[in-house]
Amino acid sequence: MKSSVIVFPGSNCDRDVVVALKKFKIENQMVWHDNSTLPKSDLVILPGGFSYGDYLRAGCIASKSPIIEDIIKHAKKGGLILGICNGFQILIETGLLPGVLLRNKKLRFLSKNVYLKVTNLENKFCINYKNNNIIKLPIAHNEGNYFANDKILKNLEDNNLIAFKYCSNKGDINTENNPNGSSNNIAGILNDTKNILGMMPHPERLIDPILSGTDGSFMFEGLLKSY
């Protein structure tokens, strides 16, 4: 499996993702945002960070980068795209995923481990969570409060396009366990054809028992398995 991690000015989780890809033996190349052609890839990852310092609006300026045109083509051909944190924000700004990401409900940056329920196990990113669909991953963001109109939310729910929801350690999905105020506790969503996943939590940060968990590993192993 070949992956491309796109690096924007201000990306800061690019190295972390590459460490994870290497660990699971996914062949990766770093692609500078200024390139106008995407090298041949099965998986494109938009990493976390503060592309363009989050100026104007998180992800907004990066969504106009030269590389984006090719990424949209890749998406239309059914290629896999994973957007993590700022990457999710960029996917929303490009229009590849619906809705918006508002500032967190408490208007503060929030960095902590949260529990997630994997609510769609039928996509290439999540197939490996079948035996364990309540997982723990870190979040670290200022604008992760997913918001969309009722029609979009209904479409997401009805077509099972929500990949992750914030929940308690037992899997209860409620306001108390919604860290940022997201509609329907949404932490990650898929596009209609389920080849694009945008998520606020960071799977690449929990791939090692010494880092207090390995729930992120399942995603990378699953991607490899589904390839």
């Binding site: 000015p9 201000g10 800061n12 989780c13 190295r15 972390d16 460490v19 976390g48 960070g49 503060f50 363009y52 310092g53 989050d54 100026y55 408490k106 503060r108 940056f109 929030l110 960095s111 902590k112 870190p138 670290a140 200022n142 960071h202 690449e204 940060r205 791939i207 010494i210 880092l211």
Partner: protein
């Protein structure tokens, strides 16, 4: 412009200092030259009051590669790796404008690290605020925390630890001390000393604006009533540009293009050019028309004194200009050849084809004033033996009062605003005895802690200075590391006053004694004087940033209790010292009296023994006993491990309150399971280390016979409620 005595005063210079300027340069300085002197001769840049005493600190051991005098200190951690670290204050600007003040404090200290070729791997901070009821405290706390987070989160360096303290002495002078740690290959360290004549001087990074002008002079004076007027002296940070600058510099550092490099921090272009040239015993000539400016019509005076952030000065190998230019262009940063090194030993500034300043560099650096200020020895006030009716203070109620007090409460409200896990190597985050960050790609780690002890230092500067170093050392021992060295940030009031200077001299004495005894030298730091407003100074606050090495991460230790049915042992002798304790301060309301003394012999002995036990892998958990004493330490171990304990007090002549809340030094709590109990006891006995078994772990409750029984859920709730209540959050 004629230099009047009013202009001299406005530049923070004394009349006799002005006379000295004239005698050094043999002429009246022009306005620009006066500005340059003001920037270089202020306390913040010249260390004129502190230098004499800082010399007493030990600065070397077998691991030290670079001690004080560079952008940051460097220590060897083996395998060709080295750790670069430093702590610095950003107190004055943070009080005037908390968000930007704190943010640029983080930005500044990070530049000190990557200037030396290191990739920053962690930041920590020590922040002190006034009384929680003071009208400014809430706004300042909120602003500082979001400023620290705003900068660190954006640039993508984890904020892994720190401390947040409250005390009314900081009402009008908060403290924001930021520490950064970086990792570098031992043979790829960059220094600031210029070398070679006619080498190009390069300006890279952000453009120069009109912000932060006279920032360093502002930070070298007391505050008065006109605080609002000082806002333009505060710099404005742009972490996004700093991220680009970081990547561009590290990219350029891959080969030997750079001869020397220095960040433009306090006193901006002035201090960076002066320091680089004078360290190399060279001269430097700058064409100010080449400075990238943010605004039109900026004057030489503004350019030289601006403290705009995210800028670096580089002396480059002359044949590497094109390649360097390409790198900075890729990252969208300014790159300008602004001058060259010369053999004149002078700083020469040209503007519009005219020489606008010409000063011998020695007059700005080595010949700058140095003062042996008068200081007064601290006299321990006589304290009557307190006859306290301890029965009035129920143990559990006292514990609750301490655990829910702002200084002792759990601080996740703060940490959760900092990205602690970016870079994927944070093994222990805030909340433990020390943070632990893995050396990327290896199975070893760096332990880092930041500590201060305001009350102890005020009550006795020598004992306090000693204690805070020991506390730092102990925190590093507790996570299983081998302490290497420290960086210090010395925050004090106005040094022109005998008592304040006395606090400074004696705190240094204490720090020096402990550092020498523990072979735990000082490799970098800074001094912040004039933390004083309308004659009210802060309590003396030396902040110590300590760094240790864990050679094998499998031997790392944590403080949370691991299993039911194991034993809690207190290592070290308890005599029940209550003066300056949390129990006296928070519960009884006694604020005077001496701090606990530190016996350095016991400190070292107990610490090295705990280290040995950890390396033998026969301990479950370790936690140092500090503010609040044994009972608070035990509660913290229980809360973090979600396992309770049944306390059984060993027979002795000490009152129960003294035993449980006393703050005697050099002690640790260790958790040992049944299997290892005999081993541990026999090692302790063989080494003649005093120890007592004080509890056995059990499910869910903390229990003391006939006194109390409380569930951990409740205890944890009590410990974590203060910040939420303060900010009206559920």
């Amino acid at each position: 412009m004629k230099i009047s005595s009013e202009i001299i005063t406005k530049h923070g210079l004394k009349q006799d200092e002005y006379k000295k300027i004239i005698s050094l340069i043999g002429k009246e300085p022009n306005f620009l030259e006066l500005g340059i002197f003001s920037a270089m001769w202020n306390e913040h840049c010249s260390y004129k009051s502190s230098k004499k005493h800082l010399k007493k600190l030990p600065t070397k051991n077998k691991n030290v590669i670079q001690g004080p005098g560079e952008n940051a200190g460097v220590v060897d951690i083996g395998d060709g790796d080295a750790i670069v670290f430093k702590i610095e204050s950003h107190n004055h600007p943070s009080f005037i404008e908390p968000y930007q003040g704190a943010a640029t404090g983080v930005g500044g200290i990070l530049r000190d690290i990557f200037t030396m070729g290191a990739r920053p791997i962690a930041t920590l901070n020590s922040i002190h605020f006034g009384d929680t009821n003071h009208p400014k405290t809430k706004i300042l706390l909120n602003g500082v925390v979001s400023g620290i987070g705003g900068y660190g989160n954006c640039i993508g360096i984890p904020t892994v630890g720190g401390e947040v303290k409250f005390d009314s002495s900081y009402n009008e002078n908060i403290l924001v001390n930021a520490m950064a740690v970086g990792l570098v290959k031992k043979n790829k360290i960059f220094y600031s000393k210029a070398e070679g004549i006619n080498q190009p001087v390069i300006y890279v990074g952000s453009k120069t604006g009109r912000d932060g002008i006279h920032g360093a002079s502002m930070a070298s004076a007391e505050f008065d009533n006109n605080l609002e007027e000082k806002k333009p002296t505060v710099q404005v940070g742009d972490p996004f540009t700093e991220k680009l600058l970081l990547e561009a510099c590290l990219e350029l550092m891959k080969d030997d293009s750079i001869i020397s490099i220095q960040d433009m921090g306090a006193a901006g272009l002035t201090s960076s050019s002066v320091e680089m040239a004078s360290k190399g015993n060279l001269g430097i000539e700058i064409d100010l028309n080449k400075i990238p400016c943010r605004e039109k019509k900026m004057t030489p005076y503004e350019m030289m004194l601006s403290e705009s952030q995210e800028r670096m000065l580089i002396i480059l190998n002359s044949n590497k200009i094109d390649n360097a230019k390409k790198i900075f262009k890729k990252w969208g940063l300014d790159f300008s050849v602004i001058g060259k090194t010369t053999n004149t030993k002078n700083l020469v500034l040209n503007f519009k084809n005219q020489e606008v300043a010409n000063l011998p560099l020695s007059s700005l650096s080595s010949d700058a004033p140095l003062y042996a200020r008068k200081w007064k020895k601290f006299v321990t006030p006589k304290i009557k033996k307190q006859n306290i009716d301890f029965k009035k203070y129920k143990i559990l109620e006292s514990l609750k009062t301490i655990l829910m007090s702002p200084n002792n409460s759990e601080k996740s409200w703060v940490w959760e605003q900092y990205d602690q896990t970016v870079m994927g190597d944070t093994i222990q985050k805030s909340g433990g005895d020390s943070a632990v960050v893995r050396v990327h790609g290896k199975n070893k780690g760096v332990a880092i802690t930041v500590d201060s002890s305001t009350a102890y230092c005020l009550a006795n500067p020598i004992a306090g200075g000693k204690q805070v170093v020991c506390e730092s050392w102990r925190n590093l021992i507790a996570v299983g590391s081998n302490p290497i060295a420290i960086t210090n940030c010395l925050n004090f009031g106005n040094p022109e006053k005998d008592e304040i200077m006395g606090q400074f001299v004696e705190c240094i004495d204490g720090i020096s004694q402990a550092c020498t005894y523990l072979d735990y030298p000082v490799v970098s730091g800074n001094v912040s004087f004039y933390n004083e407003t309308q004659n009210r100074a802060i309590s003396p606050t030396p902040t110590i940033g300590g760094v240790g090495l864990i050679n094998n991460l499998n031997n790392m230790m944590t403080r949370n209790i691991k299993e039911v049915g194991s034993y809690i042992i207190v290592v070290g002798k308890t005599s029940g010292h209550l003066f300056q304790s949390e129990f006296y301060k928070e519960v009884v309301g006694i604020k005077d009296g001496p701090p606990p003394d530190v016996n350095l012999f016991n400190e070292k002995n107990n610490g090295l023994l705990v280290q040995k036990l950890i390396s033998k892998k026969i301990l479950n958990a370790v936690h140092d006993v500090s503010s609040g004493g044994i009972l608070v330490a035990l509660s913290e171990m229980c809360i973090s491990g979600k396992i309770g304990a049944k306390i059984k007090i060993p027979e002795n002549n000490i009152d129960l309150h003294e035993y449980l809340f006393g703050e005697d030094q050099s002690r640790y709590l260790i958790e040992v399971n049944e299997k290892n109990k005999d081993d541990v006891s026999s090692i302790l006995e063989k080494n003649r280390i005093y120890y007592e078994i004080i509890a056995k772990t059990q499910k869910a409750n903390l229990y003391l016979d006939k006194k109390f029984n409380i569930s951990l859920t409740e205890l944890s709730k009590i410990n974590s409620m203060w910040f939420k209540n303060y900010f009206n959050e559920s």
